[in-house]
Amino acid sequence: MKYISEYRDPQLVKKYLHELFRVTTRPWTLMEICGGQTHSLVKNGLLDMLPPQINMVHGPGCPVCVTSVSVLDEALWLAQQPDVIFCSFGDMLRVPGSSQSLLHAKAAGADVRILYSPLEAVQLAVDNPTKEVVFFAVGFETTAPANALSVVQAAARGVTNYSILASHVLVPPAMEAILGDPDNLIDGFLAAGHVCTIMGTTEYDPIAAKYKVPIVVTGFEPADLLQGILMTVTQLEKGTYKVENQYARMVAREGNAMAMKAIHEVFDVSDRMWRGIGSIPESGYEVKAAYSQYNARLKFNIQLPVREEDPDCISGDIMRGHKKPVQCPAFGNRCKPEHPLGAPMVSSEGACAAYYQYKSSV
């Protein structure tokens, strides 16, 4: 637990809180990008410890939450094909598509497997030569390198019964979509620490400059989050708007060159549909033409009608920071984790699930 417990130290937390109360003179609205940060804020009870002028809103950085219904329908369709072993990270299984979730499909007989690494899916393909193994390649920039490597490895090993259903999303275009919205309320950002571990921090410089907004790359433990908030508020109070790095123990300015090389080898930047937000230009990764035999969409020639999200789900407003989960009329009654209207109530990183699980009337 080294490198974790130090950042849960109550004394350090107290110190940052004290400093935060000292520097805060005005109301500020900050958005934490990553769902992991949202959960840590709520799970540790931090939201109620902050100065009352600081309003934290919860960003779009939950890969499960932003994956569109149409992509989930593609996943469900693939999982139900004969002789397909459909592999996914665990979180995606409970998210509803337009008709059902992967968990339901599994219960009804589809061969759906939870894996931790796409490289295990390649091995599964080797071990099951008569089956088609498909990996559900979701996530932000964080999971893209491993998913890309699985394709590189499959190609190198001559594995032909492996493919991925890519639904990667990218943070900077989503931030621009939020900042470019005329109703934008966000004064400063906590950027997602693990995304920056891969991509570095340089792509945030032009955003900070263009929108005059401080961006602090921040970790996930209580002391990380408070220090990130403190750095952001300090900039806001001073009127500066730089990119700063709170999570320097993990994030280098230039990122992880090998990981980025793997991404660029396999993926092209493409437009992507975000659940609740709509299509954002150049905000995702799709498998490159050179690797098209590993692109499940092409391999299985998937052609499904585009479906809409449940109109009662306000996930778009939540992920753009316009509303808090508790402001949704369906929250906690028509929408609960056991019968969700939208993904933010299902995912372990979803803002609605965090509020429902940890914050319901403490």
């Binding site: 937390v13 009870g45 890969p63 299984l93 914050k359």
Partner: protein, 346 residues
């Protein structure tokens, strides 16, 4: 543990087939050579349809089915669970298990040596828990219609004369104690589950709790108001069931939760909350405030209770809810888990 199958002897199958469940000669042979010879006692030796015995006084009766995969995992196996689980369910009622039934549903193709190994563990666990297996059943299902081996055990036992265990006796101010480190069993299973394997030395905590309960009741009797073993759903679910039933609250301190560092690290890595992870060898006890420190001291002196800790208190406030004070002093609700805990993406 030796799981190597010996070479087949003449005429004896190395695997269990549908024929072993037919009720004919193969069934007879299987039961005789594998079950009765090993587990024999006065009741089983009669090979009757049921067991007859006398019981005086108040008894508790419980049943549970065991479907764990894989059958063998670090620190235990399905046989240990099948005995300890039902012994513990009875212990939580304040009863010492005396007689157990033992039923197998076997998927055809199960290697006989695995079955034999499970039976050996069943025998050892039953001896350790001082319980007699007095009746049972064996069925074989077609391949694909089971998962190697399912076991059901039911048990009956005498209630301790001083036991008054009921949630309606809990009052605000009562103290919540856990008898050992949480989440070990679930993480041990997770570490060997296909597709999720990771390297760790975490072992299941499976053990019988009847002696611990017996000693507590001997010493503290009616001051022990509530006992539960937090198996599936973990500590959080047991406490939520209690608060829901009593309309009282629980305030729990994260700092006080006994949690092995390796288990904590494994949970951290997989994105699982140890409060919801299964246990098989610890219990939650809610006791009067006056005796809580002495109960804790007594537990710490018992085998399997060395890591016992006071983790919280029953409150009038936030009725029906379990609230946790985080390490840094924040508060959050600990709810029922809406479904299975699923490993996260990143």
């Amino acid at each position: 543990m030796n799981l190597n199958c010996p070479l087949p002897t003449n005429g004896v199958s190395r695997i269990i087939t549908l024929g072993h469940g037919s009720g004919g000669l193969l069934t007879h042979q299987l039961l005789q050579t594998e079950v009765f010879d090993l587990l024999h006692n006065d009741w089983l030796d009669q090979q009757h349809d049921g067991a007859t015995f006398s019981l005086n006084g108040k008894v508790a009766f419980s049943t549970d089915s065991y479907v764990v995969s894989p059958l063998f995992f670090p620190g235990g196996n399905i046989g240990d669970l099948a005995i300890n689980g039902t012994v513990n369910d009875l212990a939580m009622c304040g009863a010492m298990a005396r007689y157990l039934s033992l039923s197998f549903i076997i998927e055809e193709g199960l290697e006989l040596c695995l079955f034999r190994e499970v039976l050996r563990h069943i025998k050892a666990a039953a001896q350790a828990a001082g319980v007699a297996i007095v009746t049972g059943d064996t069925k074989v299902v077609e391949r694909g219609k089971g998962d190697q081996l399912f076991i059901n055990t039911s048990g009956i036992g005498h209630i301790h004369p001083r036991a008054q265990i009921h949630h309606n006796r809990i009052v605000p101010g009562d103290v919540v104690i856990v008898s050992g480190e949480i989440a070990a069993h679930g993480m041990a299973i997770m570490s060997v589950r296909k597709g999720l394997e990771f390297e760790t030395e975490v072992c299941s905590d499976t053990r019988p709790l009847h002696e611990m309960v017996g000693k507590l009741l001997d010493c503290f009797g009616e001051q022990v108001k509530f006992l539960r073993d937090p198996t599936r759903g973990g500590l959080a679910s047991v406490l939520n069931e209690m608060t829901e039933a009593t309309k009282l609250g629980v305030m729990m301190e994260e700092n006080s939760l006994p949690l092995n560092e390796q288990v904590a690290a494994a949970c951290e890595m997989l994105g699982l909350d140890p409060l919801y992870v299964a246990n098989e060898g610890i219990m939650v006890a809610i006791v009067s405030e006056a005796v809580a420190p002495t109960v804790l001291g007594a537990l710490k002196g018992m085998k399997g209770g060395e890591q016992a800790a006071i983790i919280g208190r029953v409150t009038k406030e936030h009725a029906g809810k379990v609230v946790l004070e985080s390490r840094i002093g924040g508060h959050r609700v600990v709810n029922f888990l809406p479904g299975e805990q699923l490993p996260r993406i990143c």
